[in-house]
Structures are given as C-alpha cells and as structure tokens.
C-alpha cells in the first residue's frame, strides 16, 4: 500500500500541471514583454493619406486601442463589426496598424466594411510590426494616457473580452457613460 503513495503523489502533481496547461487557453498566446512598458516608438504614413504620418505621440493623452489588422487576416474580418460598435459608442479612440498589406485593398476594405479607426498606420514591410512584437493579426494593444502598454490581446476582440480585459484595466471604467 505504502509503496504506491509517492508515485500517486507524483502523478497527481503532473496532472495538476496538465490541467493548468489545458486551462491556459490559446496555446499561441504568449505573455507580451510590452506590458507595463512604453509603447514602442514609430512613425508611419497613414493608410488613407500617405503624406500624413502617425506615431506613438498620436495616442498620447487618452486611453487608446491599437489594433493590428490586415485584409488577408480572416479573424480581423470577424472582429471588425465589434470594432465598429466600439467606435460608434465612442468607447475609446481606436487606431489601426495595417500590417503587411496592400494599400489599395486595405482602403477598399475600410470603404466596404466601415472604418472604426481614427487613423491607420500603413506598415507595408512589417518593420513596425516587429517593433511591436506582432506575430499574428489581429492583435490589440491597450495603451494608457501616459503611453504605457497595459494590455495586449491576441486574436479577435469580442464584447466579453472587451469588458473583462480592457474595461477592467481602464481607471474610471472607460466607457459606460
């Protein structure tokens, strides 16, 4: 009897790790090294007007969502209606980083589906995407008024994630006016 106790404890311990691993959720989601750090500096032309540029200081002074999207990204299409909803409710300023995309197609996408972004940066060669540690669109960063990244979400946004992960992190509740 006694001889089975230790192996049992060992197996139980491994099971705990297994369950923890399974509950972890999206196995592709990695802890972002940017949380609590200043948003990476960048300067890019905007998607719609190449002469106008957009950069980190554009977000300053308010909470901002920075949403990495592309027309080739299927899940971006899935989350698009919710971004439009957020924009219509004036929940938070939303900026886009159009990542490795074609300008023409990206503008057509916004014309067809609606444009939730105050502006989108056009990152044609993915250089800024690398600085932001982007590895799978859609990705959404929450930047606080001081310009610090306070949360990053991998995958499409939805109302539940928005309430649980984003609203909860904004002091004063952010929206819900």
């Amino acid at each position: 009897m006694n001889r089975f106790v230790w192996p049992l404890i060992a197996v139980a311990g491994l099971l705990v790790f297994l369950v923890m691993g399974l509950r972890h959720g999206d196995p592709r989601a990695l802890p972002s090294p940017f949380i609590g750090k200043p948003a990476p500096e960048f300067e890019l032309p905007t998607l719609k007007i190449p002469e106008v540029s957009i950069g980190t200081e554009t977000f300053a002074g308010d909470y901002a969502l920075v949403n990495v999207w592309a027309t080739w990204c299927v899940m971006c299409r899935a989350e698009h209606p919710f971004l439009l909803e957020l924009a219509a409710a004036r929940a938070i300023p939303i900026y886009g980083i159009n990542w490795r995309d074609s300008r023409v197609e990206a503008i057509r996408w916004l014309d067809d589906l609606g444009d939730p972004y105050l502006a989108s940066a056009y990152d044609a060669d993915g250089r800024v995407g690398i600085d932001w540690g982007v590895y799978g669109a859609p990705e959404t960063f929450l930047v606080d008024p001081e310009g610090t990244v306070i949360y990053k979400h991998l995958g499409p946004l939805d109302p539940v994630i928005w309430q649980r992960e984003f609203v909860a992190r904004m002091s004063g509740g952010g929206q819900a006016e």
Binding site: R3, L30, R100, R127
Partner: protein, 140 residues
C-alpha cells in the same frame, strides 16, 4: 509496364523543394554561417514549431531580413538575441539564454538526474539489505 516502372521510380526520386530564401545573403562565408546558425535558433512565432529558417510565413521572412541587417551592422549575437527577446519574449529563442528566469530550464535536468540517482541508490541499498532468498516484493 516498363514505362510505368520508370514513372514510379522517377516519381519516388523527386524530393520536395522548399524554396525558402535559399539565396546567399552574405559573400563572406563566415557571416553566412553565422546568419544560418542564428536563423535556425529563432522560433517562428506564427508557426511555433518551426524555426524562422524553415518557415516561409511573412513574419519569418521579416525576421530573417532584420537579422541579416543586424549582422551587416556588426551587431553581436547577444545584441540580436536581445532585440528578439525585447519584442517577443524569451520564447522566441530556441536556445534560451542563461538568465535568472531561464536558469531552472538549465538546472532542472541535472537536479532531476541527481534526485533519481539518489532514489535509485536507496532502493538498491534497501534491496541488498534484504535476506538472500527473500525475493518477494512484499515491502518496497
């Protein structure tokens, strides 16, 4: 029949061509070797079980381009690793660096072997102290 055989054999001889950046980046063979070693040690974040050397997704291509640029600029391996870790975390490196955070990865195997050896020794000693002929497994 013979033609069919030839067809089968030649088909079997064909190997898949993975056309991923086979072109040389550097004229200097030393730099080229360094470049190839580095890209084989960086995880492709979009396709997490491949290195960026083996992957043809866009992000892997971007990272290869960045690494080539950094080598050209004369950055050290540590600087390049730092560039990646700052952006993607320690997970991006297939060969984790020995830092406080990753120390457990490097030390744990040795601790486990030590622990296992110790346990084995105890069991063997115990067995040896049993009277000869008593090979029953009643007590462990």
């Amino acid at each position: 029949m013979k033609r069919l055989l030839v067809l089968i054999v030649t088909t079997l001889l064909v190997s898949t061509a993975f056309a991923i950046d086979k072109g040389k980046k550097f004229d200097d063979p030393e730099l080229q070797a360094r470049y190839e070693r580095l890209i084989s040690e960086v995880r492709c974040l979009q396709c997490q079980n491949q290195s960026i050397k083996d992957s043809n997704v866009t992000l892997a291509a971007d990272l290869r381009r960045e690494i080539a640029r950094m080598i050209e600029e004369g950055q050290t391996d540590d600087q390049i690793a730092e560039f990646l870790v700052v952006r993607y975390g320690e997970f991006a490196l297939y060969r984790p660096r020995t830092t406080g955070k990753t120390l457990v990865l490097w030390v744990a195997p040795f601790l486990l072997v030590l622990f296992g050896g110790f346990a084995l020794m105890r069991v063997v000693k115990h067995r040896m102290s049993l009277p000869i002929g008593d090979d029953s497994m009643k007590e462990g």
